[in-house]
């Protein structure tokens, strides 16, 4: 089985043996052979031994934690794993200001049609007793503000669009 990945923005191709017999596995990473000893303790919790070195690997929302350090990755396969977005996305064209988490809109700092600069405050939302100012992703003009103070918004919901 072959898995295409993007790790910290870098494309990788990993060939895994078609089936697992025991823990020893011969893998091929970008053409290089790699012998590993793998054991899945719990779903999402993997012990990997490579040349004697043991790695504690835990599947995380944004990627994999290995020995306490996070590596963001994305499986380049539409049919696999949802929600493994890395960073990215260009700055050209309209950009939307999205709610990073569920919350309540406290203040709207701009109006449609207003010119804004990158990092200028657009909307303030509150969650868990903390207020957070959401800033403009780019310099441009506010084409739309889709929320008003008091609104509750879900994570990822578009609050405004800057063009």
């Amino acid at each position: 089985m072959t898995v295409w990945l993007e790790i910290d923005g870098k494309k990788r191709r990993v060939e895994l043996p078609p089936s697992l017999t025991g823990n020893a596995m011969e893998c091929v990473v970008d053409g290089r052979a790699l012998s590993v000893n793998a054991e899945m303790l719990q779903p999402g919790v993997l012990s990997l031994i490579v040349e004697g070195r043991q790695y504690r690997c835990i599947l995380d929302k944004e990627g994999v934690l290995i020995d306490g350090r996070r590596f963001a990755f994305e499986v380049n396969d539409p049919r696999s794993l949802q929600g493994r977005r890395g960073a990215g996305a260009g700055t050209a064209g309209p950009r939307s200001v999205k709610a990073p988490m569920p919350g309540r809109v406290v203040r709207v700092l701009v109006a449609a049609g207003e010119d804004v600069v990158e990092q200028q405050g657009i909307v303030v939302i509150e969650a868990m007793k903390m207020q957070n100012e959401l800033k403009s992703p780019k310099t441009g003009k506010v084409v739309r503000v889709s929320v008003a103070p008091g609104d509750t918004v879900g994570a990822g919901e578009v609050l405004a669009v800057v063009e």
């Binding site: 089985m1 898995v3 990945l5 790790i7 870098k10 990788r12 990993v14 895994l16 893998c27 990473v29 970008d30 290089r32 790699l34 590993v36 793998a38 899945m40 779903p43 999402g44 919790v45 993997l46 990997l48 490579v50 790695y55 690997c57 835990i58 599947l59 995380d60 929302k61 990627g63 994999v64 934690l65 290995i66 020995d67 306490g68 350090r69 996070r70 590596f71 990755f73 499986v75 696999s80 794993l81 493994r84 990073p100 988490m101 569920p102 919350g103 969650a127 868990m128 007793k129 903390m130 957070n132 994570a155």
Partner: protein, 502 residues
């Protein structure tokens, strides 16, 4: 006079509610939990003998509904209420209502709360107990003119603070007379919004102060002990992030002087039960009274670990009218304890809160590790309350070993599904300044200016990361069911699969 307590209603949620419930069980007291609609699946409910719904998720409709809570306490025959911290814990009217309803409020009398709860009145009390304090206005400022007058009197820089405030809300540092007017307006309205009172006072700004507080425990019989200090200088936006006991800079004599001053203040106000007096300490070991917290503190566990005492057990005994069993000389500090407040927030993205479903939880344990935590795998962290997930506490013989032990525990800790500030702690605990105890209340903000990511580079080869990712991705677990969902989701399925008659 002794009053028997058999059943305690815990008017709180999260780890502190569970911690109080555990203490009650250990003292063979019945426990009553209350919960909002967001907390039916919370652990403080699961561990209580009785549980009653308060209302919708917002605190104003649930955990702040003192009337409802008292009604429940009355209905179920609870003879005492433990308020925990936050919510109703410093509400003198509620404390009073409990007493008149014949229910013991596990905390200080309303009178003492009123004196010490208001910053301005507390400052008057502090002066009366001749406790050193930061020069500044004793009473609230009537106007911007008075503010300007007082400020020029004590000299800039100065700090504006909300009289009814806390947690940094309604606070502004002012470096010169020109900035005072705007800061006065901003702080006033922020205070109005946050506390319903725009009253401000003003004091001299101490440069690079440490935040050090004294834990007090007072009984009804005039007994009052200080249980050493806590160093809480590692703060972000005036919120404590790491606390430790003892402080690396407090000598035995400074401890005694601060402790005795704190005791004087408490006794002067007729204080009873657990309380904390906060001080600013400058580089010359001068200490200045800041404020008093008339409740159990979040960070009380570090004091428990170095004193060997259980503060909640002591609170309960005091509430039963018992005198303190210990004398001041019996209080001995041993070793060093460190607490990390693990929050559901994203340090790499402006510390945005990160509520949601916890899909994987791997908690540390073993020697010297204590965790006060009320989350679990499958729990959905609500967006309605404080983002604290857990208090991870490490104890060891020395400060250095406590830090290294905490690093070991944080390495073992995994919380998936939501963002946490665990990586931030690794960064702090490996920082030479923190390890050398070169910290003040501005320390963390300065550290954060250099970015959050931990310094040390990874020792994990790229190919290993690739294989790990590939294996995990291709054997990914089906998402674990959220609490509540568990029942419904399985429901139909099982009905079918097992052909149980419908």
């Amino acid at each position: 006079m002794r009053r028997p307590i058999k059943k305690v209603l815990v008017a709180n949620r999260g780890e502190i509610a569970l911690r109080v419930i555990r203490a009650c069980r250990e003292m063979d007291l019945q426990t009553v939990a209350v919960y909002s609609d967001a907390d039916r699946a919370a652990l403080h409910v699961l561990h209580a003998d009785e549980a009653y719904r308060l209302g919708p998720a917002p605190a104003s409709e649930s955990y702040l509904r003192g009337d409802l809570i008292l009604e429940i306490a009355h209905g179920v025959g609870a003879d005492a209420i433990h308020p925990g911290y936050g919510f109703l814990s410093e509400n003198a009217d509620f404390a009073e209502a409990c007493v008149s309803a014949g229910v013991v409020f596990i905390g200080p009398p309303a009178s003492a709360m009123r004196v010490l709860g208001s910053k301005t009145r507390a400052r008057q009390a502090a002066d009366a107990a001749d406790m050193p304090r930061v020069p500044g206005s004793v009473t609230g400022l009537a106007s911007i003119d008075e503010a300007l007058r007082v400020a020029s009197g004590i000299g800039y820089p100065v700090m504006l603070k909300a009289a009814a405030g806390g947690g940094g809300k309604g606070m502004r540092a002012v470096l010169s007379p020109g900035d005072l007017a705007s800061a006065y307006a901003a702080a006033g309205s922020e205070a109005e919004r946050s506390f319903g009172s725009g009253e401000l006072y003003l004091e001299k700004l101490i440069e690079r102060p440490r935040h050090i507080e004294i834990q007090l425990m007072a009984d009804e019989h005039g007994g009052c002990l200080y249980l050493g200090e806590r160093e809480c200088s590692v703060q972000r936006r005036h919120q404590k992030v790491i606390e430790e006991a003892p402080s690396a800079v407090v000598s035995e004599s400074l401890r005694r002087r601060m402790g005795e001053a704190a005791v004087r203040l408490a006794l002067s106000a007729g204080y009873v039960n657990a309380g904390t007096v906060e001080f600013l300490v400058d580089a010359e070991e001068n200490f200045y009274f800041l404020e008093m917290n008339t409740r159990l503190q979040v960070e009380h566990p570090v004091t428990e670990l170095v004193t060997g005492l259980d503060l909640v057990h002591m609170q309960l005994k005091i509430a039963m009218g018992e005198p303190l069993e210990l004398k001041q000389d019996d209080i001995r500090l041993r070793g060093h304890a460190l607490e990390c407040r693990i929050y559901a927030e994203d340090p790499e993205n402006q510390f945005f809160p990160s509520p949601g479903l916890i899909t994987r939880l791997v908690q540390p344990s073993g020697p010297g590790i204590r965790e006060d935590c009320a989350v679990y795998e499958g729990w959905t962290v609500p967006l309605d309350y404080d983002p604290m997930l857990s208090k991870l506490v490490a104890f060891a013989e020395t400060r250095e070993m406590a830090i290294d032990r905490m690093l070991r525990a944080l390495d073992e800790y995994t919380i998936s599904g939501i963002k946490t500030n665990i990586a931030l702690f690794l960064r702090i605990l490996m920082d030479p300044d923190f390890r050398a105890a070169r910290i003040d209340t501005g320390y963390l903000e300065r550290l954060l200016d250099n970015g959050v990511a931990a310094a040390e580079g990874s020792t994990v080869p790229e190919d290993v990361v690739a294989v790990a990712a590939a294996l995990l991705a291709s054997s990914v677990r089906e998402d674990i069911p959220a609490a509540g969902a568990a029942l419904e989701s399985k429901w139909a399925a099982t009905g079918r699969q097992e052909g149980l008659r419908s």
